[in-house]
């Protein structure tokens, strides 16, 4: 699914990576709040849904090759986090949906989890 469509479904504000919205195709999604879980289990190219808004999230994404980060649950995203996303060229979305709902709507739109790569 194109990232632009995902951003619409998630009612998300695009904080960085606007230029990639129309090109980036997402197949896999994972959700986690523990960065060590992300380091352990993330797959390159996946989209990460997380309740964390620190710059570490973006650094972690860059290190494991996560293509897109969606922050849920948080009212604000610190400027540092947005700057880090811009620096690494990672699209950063901010969705008002709860994590459960964000995961649910993507799942019902046939996005896959991280298994069976």
């Amino acid at each position: 699914m194109k990232l632009v469509d995902i951003s619409k479904i998630l009612e998300a504000k695009v904080c960085s990576g606007e230029e990639k919205l129309n090109d980036l195709e997402i197949e896999r999604v994972g959700a986690a709040d523990m960065m060590s879980d992300v380091l352990a289990f993330a797959k390159p190219g996946m989209l990460l849904i997380t309740g964390l808004n620190t710059p570490q999230v973006v650094r972690t994404a860059s290190i494991v090759g996560i293509s897109t980060v969606v922050i849920v649950r948080k009212k604000q995203i610190p400027e540092e986090t947005i700057q880090a996303a811009k620096m690494f060229g990672i699209p950063l979305l901010h969705s008002p949906l709860p994590m459960y709902t964000a995961c649910g709507v993507l799942y019902t739109n046939n996005l896959k989890d991280i298994r069976s790569f």
Partner: protein
């Protein structure tokens, strides 16, 4: 299980003859005082799932209650009698300085499953089972060392300038990549690993390998920031067959080796946990993504993590 344990210990004992009882024993022994009843001893043994209970009066070991003693007390209806009437008083004990062959000799000659460890003033200081011995031997084998006096020179000495994995000399000034870790600003953690990944890709290292290196380094870097209370350094060396990463700090060191190795154990603060770290997976993740790993630590002196990552064609090692 039992014969396997015996056989293993038998094979290992000469290799590890320098191990002594005080290194192997379980300290903090559960004990009971002699004026309690056998019934109370039985309950304590049941609750703590132990098959032998030392009897201690004013820190001095005066006897031992075994399962056999309990069974006899039940048969003879003396279960409500005080322990001192029934307990085994002729004890065979081990002193803290007895070495592995001496200890093993006692196990073989007596057929007992456990020995109290008693100092020269007859005070109970620990208990020793075959399982404790096996655990002690395995510990010696581990990749991961938390230091004791015998290895004091590791962190002080020339090992600092040698590979912990291959033993060859390494010149950190000549590292292909170096980064100094800022431990004051937690939000900066991960920058070193992210830069290292970019650097490796720039040097033509495959994405998949650069990713593994960066993930493992990220965990090591985060550990320095979270736990060490000191500054640290990341060094990376690219060789024809592999990439080597060293992450060093001069901080507190790893206090409890067993716990640090457990997935899920962490001493991280709530603040760290809120940032998504402190899940207790740092060392597991380093292990998962590196091909070889050695960690050396001494309390108060710091931690050195060295990891090797094979480049594709030698992925099976050489």
């Amino acid at each position: 299980m039992k014969p396997t344990v015996d056989k293993l210990i038998d094979q290992m004992q000469m290799l590890f003859k320098d191990l002594v009882a005080k290194d192997l024993m379980a300290p903090n022994v559960i004990s009971i005082s002699p004026d309690r009843t056998m019934e109370q001893a039985k309950e304590l043994m049941r609750l703590k799932k132990i098959s032998g209970l030392p009897v201690v009066e004013n820190d001095i070991l005066v006897g031992l209650v075994s399962i056999e003693d309990i069974i006899k007390a039940l048969e003879r209806h003396t279960i409500h009698d005080p322990i001192y009437k029934i307990m085994t008083k002729n004890l065979i004990v081990v002193s803290p300085d007895e070495n592995l062959p001496q200890i093993f000799d006692k196990f073989t000659r007596t057929g007992f499953g456990r020995f109290p460890v008693v100092d020269n003033q007859k005070r109970l200081v620990g208990i020793l089972t075959k399982e404790d011995i096996l655990r002690g031997i395995l510990e010696e084998f581990r990749l991961l060392y938390v230091r004791d006096k015998r290895r004091q020179d590791v962190i002080d000495g020339e090992a600092l300038n040698r590979s912990l994995i291959t033993g060859e000399e390494i010149n950190k000034l000549g590292a292909d990549f170096a980064f100094s870790i800022d431990y004051v600003e937690i939000s900066l953690s991960g920058i070193g690993a992210a830069r290292l990944k970019e650097f490796l890709k720039g040097r033509g290292i495959e994405e998949e390998i650069a990713r593994k290196v960066a993930i493992a380094t990220y965990e090591a870097e985060t550990n320095v920031v979270i736990h060490s209370g000191s500054s640290g350094n990341i060094y990376c060396f690219i060789y024809p067959e592999y990439v080597r990463v060293r992450v060093e700090d001069h901080g507190k060191g790893i206090e409890d080796l067993d716990k640090a190795m457990q997935e899920g154990y962490s001493t991280a603060t709530d603040q760290i946990r809120e940032m998504g770290f402190g899940a207790g997976m740092g060392i597991s993740n380093m292990h998962r993504y590196s091909d070889k790993m050695v960690i050396v630590s001494e309390i108060g002196k710091g931690v050195i993590v060295e990891m090797q990552f094979f480049l594709k064609d030698t992925a099976n090692g050489s």
